[in-house]
Amino acid sequence: MEFLINSLLLLMLVATVFAIVRLKRLMIGVMLMGFFSLLSANIFMVLDAVDVAFTEAAVGAGVSTIFFLAALAIVGRTSKPQNATRTFVPLAAVIITGALLVYASFDMPYFGSHDAPAHNHVVPRYLNDSPNEVGPPNIVTSVLASYRGYDTLGEVGVVFTAFIGVFLLLGAGTRKSGVERPAPPNVQAESMRQKVVLREVSDLLIAPVLIFALYVQWHGDFGPGGGFQAGVIFASGVILYALIYGIVPAQKVFPPRKLAYFPGIGFLLYALVGVVSMMRGGNFLDYGVLVHDPLHGQHYGILIIELGVGITVAAVMINIFFSLSERSL
């Protein structure tokens, strides 16, 4: 049954991709890409990767689609038909690469097999010992935040870098904040009238979204979720507000100048946990030494770094959205 659903979803993915390949209208292409992400989130769900599914849904189908749309609003929505010479080389390259992959696939451990080496070398310790060593029942969280906490620091670094990069290229808040292109008054009023339903609905939704973000943030130890997902969800709440009410009101609530500090703060928070653990005689990011009891130490450490991740991600996503959409004003 699982296999059937899985295969069905995969086939849908293939159909989506081919639609995207053939489409000239980018707008639809981007929408389909969001759909593609949502489908893959479903697949992740079926394949037991709940945290990944969560993230993919929030990021792929959510935030990154919005980024795409914001960019499309600036660069236009259609692409020219590609010329024929362009198709041959890519096709050849793709076929060769694909053939290589198919060649390799014959030696791959079968899908779902229990005795694949991937499951039997490093992972057993995570599964068996992590409740006693780290604590959280969600093993993904304990691996992410503790065993491979250093990777996650790098991941926050990636997000932070993207923020700095976008900031450096487009500017945020410093450029035109407060100068919205004045629309004719009647149009403005008209637009507000048309949006009345949306406004009401979003009023109803934004608060639950933000609360849900906090829930995901603090509940990441026990169920799917964690700082990253929480940050994205929080950001999407704010983005929703900005979409409905306009960027300027949103920027009044979250002034970009101040918001620009937060990615750094979150990042620092994360790294400082590591520094504190170094000062207390442990290795970098060794939460066990934070307090007297190692298990408690792990717990506190994970909470704090997840908070750092959450702050950074939320602030970065909101900032990037502001930066991108400001350009279209």
Binding site: A104, A116, A118, H121, Y150, V158, G165, L168, G264
Partner: protein, 491 residues
């Protein structure tokens, strides 16, 4: 304290980056950035001293033993790369302040330094880690910051160059990710040490073979191995002045380090080169790269682009050295990695100083600059001579080893080709020097003054280092030779 050094090495710049982003004042940001990078240079030197006698430093991130946690591992090879990244990076950052003045607003400046620091930290991260996936993560941090840095160039073509690099770089990184995934699929571990122990049992596994193929293509994109160098010339040409120096010195070199680490350590020589015959692909490609890129460089009339093409050629030297697979060749590759980083950074920095004054890197705008900016041009000439490979400069040492490597293999024609390529280097460097010294300055550049001290001093440090490492090669060729011995001795 001393056992925490590997973490401190990374943290200095990694922590400085967010703080730097919060500073409104560009000068303060610069001070912070230079302090952090120079301190990290000191740490790198301390680490190098620690591993000098063949010792290996292992540091467990989060206190988890490998392969469960992420290990940081410093041996002779990456201690050398660390020194490369930190020392040359610091020198460039020191010169950066003057280069940015007047071009960028204060707030932007601190962001720029932040990006620099992130790139710097990520390169350190790539260098010290012993975890295959961690390499990918930090590779992405460094790549993203690189894209942003390049896109800040003045010409609009900087944007396209950056975008092209982004696309190719991301494909490359994803290929590497696939390769790492395949490795994990078969071995169940991500730790490099562990991987190298577990891989020999799976040599016949097609997944591992495909993994090698994907890794090679992916990293070749990052290293800019011919013919995947497509992104490099434009990226270097249109990146902001001093930034090019930083990128040329560090980014491709660290990618090359990753290549060495994976091919020689993780996959192992026997698998990568003997079973999969990687050399038969790499040698012709790198020879073609050397000759074609040198030839293209000769016909450039923009000094920056000329040097960029020269970089493609020089990177091919390193790849060739690796593919030769003998002691001299590997020594050549590793020491040339260091030497070329130094010389190219210096050359681009000197060029940046010239551009700072004349606002162009076109050859005809650089005419007569040897008279108006004698000190800068002098430094440029010294490093140019080094790049050619004239004895008593650093470039000579590595080229010598490279040619010895080809001769050891008995490939006389190849040695001759390498000498021909050196001749080409004479021509393209000579072209710049000829213009600088023996052509009259155009009237609009008659009142050009010498570059400011803060740029001039780093330039000359690079120039003097070029000579120093041409005479005392214990750090470069000595270490590289030992690394080569250890690789070849094991197999």
């Amino acid at each position: 304290m001393i056992e925490q050094l590997p973490a401190i090495q990374l943290l200095l710049t990694l922590l400085a980056a967010p703080i730097c982003s919060m500073l409104r004042n560009g000068d303060h940001a610069w001070r912070l950035a230079t302090a952090a990078t120079w301190l990290s240079t000191v740490v790198a030197i301390m680490l190098l001293i620690q591993v000098w006698d063949g010792g290996v430093i292992s540091y467990q991130m989060g206190g988890w033993p490998p392969p469960w946690g992420i290990e940081v591992r410093i041996d002779e090879l990456n201690a050398l790369v660390l020194l490369l990244v930190t020392l040359f990076g610091s020198l460039v950052i020191t010169a950066l302040r003057e280069s940015l003045r007047g071009v960028m607003r204060h707030q932007r400046q601190s962001l720029y330094y932040t990006t620099f620091l992130l790139c710097f930290a990520a390169l350190i991260g790539i260098t010290i880690t012993a975890d295959a996936f961690n390499v990918f993560v930090f590779l992405e941090v460094s790549s993203l910051s690189t894209y942003a840095l390049i896109a800040r160039g003045r010409d609009r073509r900087a944007l396209t160059a950056s975008f092209r690099y982004l696309i190719m770089g991301t494909i490359g990184a994803t290929f590497i990710l696939i390769a790492i995934g395949f490795l994990y699929m078969v071995t169940g571990t991500l730790n490099m040490q562990d991987l190298s122990e577990r891989l020999p049992a799976h040599w016949d596994n097609r997944v591992i073979q495909a993994s090698l193929a994907f890794f090679t293509v992916g990293i070749a994109l990052k290293v800019a191995v011919f013919p995947l160098h497509y992104w490099l010339p434009n990226a270097y040409t249109y990146a902001p002045k001093a930034t090019t120096a930083f990128l040329a010195a560090t980014a491709t070199k660290v990618s090359l380090y990753v290549m060495i680490r994976f091919l020689f350590d993780v996959y192992g020589i026997e698998f990568a080169f003997e079973k999969m015959q990687l050399s038969t692909i790499l040698v012709p490609l790198s020879i073609a790269g050397i000759l074609i890129a040198s030839l293209v460089a000769i016909f450039q009339n923009d000094a920056k682009r000329l040097l960029a093409w020269s970089s493609v050629a020089q990177l091919s030297y390193m790849v060739l050295g690796l593919a030769l697979l003998n002691a001299s060749g590997i020594t050549a590759a590793i020491s040339h990695m260091f030497n070329h980083a130094m010389m190219k950074a210096g050359l681009f920095l000197a060029l940046a100083a010239m551009i700072y004054r004349v606002n162009s890197s076109k050859l005809h705008d650089l005419a007569g600059i040897g008279r108006t900016m004698p000190l800068t041009t002098g430094a440029f000439a010294v490093m140019g001579v080094g790049l050619i490979g004239v004895p008593m400069t650093a470039g000579f040492v590595s080229k010598w080893y490279l040619i010895s490597g080809t001769l050891d293999k008995g490939w006389l024609p190849l040695a001759a080709l390498l000498i021909v390529s050196s001749l080409m280097a004479v021509v393209y460097i000579g072209k710049i020097i000829d213009v600088a010294y023996f052509k009259p300055a155009p009237p609009q550049h008659a009142d050009v003054r010498e570059a400011p001290l803060s740029m001039l001093i780093p330039c000359w440090i690079f120039a003097l280092l070029t000579i120093y490492f041409g005479l005392d090669t214990r750090i470069t060729a000595g270490l590289a030779g030992r690394v080569a011995q250890s690789y070849l001795g094991v197999s």
